[in-house]
Amino acid sequence: MQQAATVTRITDFMKQQMAGFSPQGAIRAVSMPVLGVLAFLLLWQMAAQNVTTSLGSLPGPAGVWAQAGNLWADHLDEQRRAAEFIEMQKERNAEILARNPDAEVRIRPYSGKETFIDQILTSLGTVFSGFLLASLLAIPLGIVVGLNRYLYEAVNPVIQVFKPVSPLAWLPIVTLVVSATYTVEDPMVSRAFITSMVTVSLCSLWPTLVNTIMGVNAVSQDLRNVSQVLRLGFFTHVWRVVLPSAIPMIFTGLRLSLGIAWMVLIAAEMLAQSPGLGKFVWDEFQNGSSESLGRIMVAVIVIGLIGLVLDRGMLMLQRLLSWDRASATH
C-alpha cells in the first residue's frame, strides 16, 4: 500500500507539473525569456567593444562561446591523453608479464593538468560535502533549539552574530585550524578540500539553522495538544509531529543554504587555492593571456548556470518530499 501511495504521489506530481498546459501559454513562456536573453547578449556585445583592458578588449558573446569550445576541446584532449597513458602502461605491463610472469606490475594514474570540466566536478563535490555537513549539523541542532525556549534565548545571540560573517573572514582561521589538526600521513582528501568544505559549511549552515528553529517553533498548539492527548513519547513527537510540521520551513532554509554554499565556495577556492572553479578563475587571472578574459567569463556563466540548476534541483526535491506543495513555489 505504501508503494502504491508513492506511485500515486509521483503521478499526481507529474500531472500537476503538466496542468494548465496550452500552446499559447507555452509560446509565451518560451518567447519572453528568449527575447530577454537575446537583448542581454546584444547589450553585452555593444558594451564589451568599448571596454579596453590590459589584456585587450572585453570579449563579446561570440568570443566567450569560442573559449567555451576551446575549454571543451582541452578537456577531450586531456581525456584522450589519459587514456593513451593508461593504455601504454597496460601494454608495457603485458610485455613485462610475458617475459616474467611473477613480476609485480602496477598502473600509475595519469597526472595531467586539471581541465575546466574536472574543476567543475571538484567544485560540485566540495559544495555538496560542505552543504551536507552544514545540514547534518544545522537540522538536528535547529530541532533541539527550536523545542526549548530557554535554549533558543541562549543560542540566538550567537546565531545573530555569526550569521553575517563573510567566508573571507572565516577562511584564515579555518585554514590554520585545519593545518594544525588535519595531520594524517598520506591523506585521502587534500587539506585544501577540507578547508574549503569547512568554510562552506560554516557560512551556509545559518539559514538552515534559523529556518529549522522557526519551523519547529511554529508547530501549531493544536497539533501539540493532539500529541499530548495521545501521550506520544519525546522521539515519536519529534519524528511524527514536529519534523513533518517543520519540513516546509526546513526546505526553505536548505535552499537558501545551498545558494550561499555555492557562492561561498567560489570565494573559498580562490583564496585557499583548493582545486575547483574558483581556482580556475584565479589561475586564469594570474595567467593573463589574451584568452584569459574569455575563459573567466565562461566560468562566470557556468557558475551562474550551476547555481540555477542547484536551486531548481532543491525545489524539485522539496516538491517531491514535502507534504506542503503550496510552500514550494519559485
Binding site: 501549531s220 497539533l223 495538544n225 493532539v226 492527548v229 495521545l230 501521550r231 511524527r240
Partner: protein, 290 residues
C-alpha cells in the same frame, strides 16, 4: 442523575491566571458530576471559561483550585482515555485520513492489538463516521465536515472513557452540521460514550444533550443552571420542532443566556465590530424568529 459514585466529577474547580498586579480569576467553584454514558453540553457566552473547563478535564490545563476525578482518579495530565475533538479538526496535514487515525490507534493499542487488528480498528472507526471511502485522502483534499468526521473517528478510535468536544461543529455550514449531529447521536447511542461538548448553538445543545450546563459570564465564571433534557431517544430533529417539551427546554436556555446572563457590552458598538460580536454570540439557528 445522582449516582452514588460519579463517573466524572469536577469539584470546586477554580482557575486563575497570573496577570500584572494580581490574578485573573477565570473560573470559580465549578461543580459537576457526570454519569457514565451521559451527554453533557456546556453553553455560555464567549469568554465564560467553557474551554477552560474542557481543557481541565482533558488535562491540558491544571486547575488552580479544586480538581477533576475520573473513575475516582485525579486528572493530572492529558491522556487518550479523555480524547478531545478540537474545534478546527487538528489533523496532521501531512497524513491521510487513515494515517491520522492510525497514529492514535498505534499509540493506544500498541501492545493490545496485532497489526491486522489495528488496521481493522482504524477502518472500522472511519466507517463509523462514514469516511470509509476516503481513507487515503489528506486533510487538504477533504471538506470541512469530512475533516471533522475524521477528527471524531480519531477520538473514538482511542476508546475514551470520556469524549470531549470543543465546538466540534462550530465552523461548519448548517446542513453539514445537522448531518454530523445525527451521526454523533447515532454513534453515541451505539457506543454509550460519555460526552462533554462545548457549543454555541442552543438547538444543538437541546437536541443532543441529556443535560445542558449553562455557565455564567466571566470573570469568575461558574455554573449558573443545569437543565435536564428529558426527551426520548432516538431523537428526530424534524419531529422535535413541534414538541412542547423540546421548545420548553430551548426557551429556558435562551432565557438564561439572553435575560439572566445578558452579555454586557461596555463600549458603544462600532460598525467594524459587528461581525465579531455576531460570531461570539450564542446563536439559536433556525426558527428563532418564528
Amino acid at each position: 442523575m445522582s449516582h452514588s459514585r460519579p463517573h466524572l466529577e469536577l469539584s470546586s474547580v477554580g482557575m486563575g491566571f497570573p496577570i500584572k498586579g494580581g490574578t485573573f480569576t477565570a473560573l470559580d467553584d465549578v461543580n459537576l458530576r457526570v454519569a457514565e454514558g451521559e451527554f453533557i453540553s456546556l453553553i455560555g457566552h464567549s469568554g465564560c471559561g467553557k474551554s477552560t473547563v474542557l481543557n481541565i478535564v482533558a488535562g491540558l490545563m491544571r486547575a488552580t483550585r479544586g480538581g477533576c476525578l475520573l473513575d475516582g482518579r485525579e486528572v493530572t495530565e492529558p491522556g487518550p482515555e479523555r480524547a478531545v475533538v478540537f474545534q478546527n479538526h487538528s489533523l496532521m496535514p501531512w497524513l491521510s485520513a487513515y494515517q491520522n487515525v492510525e497514529l492514535a490507534v498505534r499509540q493506544v493499542f500498541r501492545k493490545s492489538m496485532t497489526r491486522q487488528q489495528r488496521r481493522d480498528w482504524v477502518i472500522h472507526n472511519l466507517e463509523l463516521v462514514h469516511m470509509g471511502h476516503a481513507l487515503d485522502k489528506r486533510p487538504d483534499e477533504l471538506s470541512g465536515g469530512m475533516r471533522q468526521r475524521v477528527g471524531i473517528a480519531r477520538a473514538l478510535a482511542m476508546q475514551p472513557k470520556v469524549l470531549l468536544m470543543d465546538e466540534p461543529f462550530g465552523a461548519l455550514d448548517a446542513l453539514t452540521r445537522a448531518h454530523l449531529q445525527d451521526s454523533l447521536m447515532e454513534i453515541q447511542r451505539e457506543l454509550n460514550s460519555t460526552v462533554i461538548m462545548i457549543t454555541h448553538d442552543v438547538d444543538e445543545a437541546v437536541l443532543l444533550s441529556d443535560r445542558i450546563v449553562m455557565m455564567t459570564n466571566g470573570p469568575a465564571a461558574s455554573i449558573g443552571e443545569v437543565l435536564d433534557v428529558p426527551l426520548e431517544r432516538p431523537r428526530d430533529r424534524v419531529a422535535l420542532a413541534d414538541c412542547a417539551e423540546y421548545n420548553r427546554c430551548r426557551q429556558s436556555v435562551l432565557s438564561f443566556l439572553y435575560e439572566k446572563q445578558q452579555k454586557v457590552t461596555p463600549m458603544p458598538r462600532k460598525t467594524g465590530e459587528a461581525r465579531g460580536t455576531q460570531e461570539d454570540a450564542p446563536s439559536a439557528s433556525g426558527a428563532v424568529n418564528a
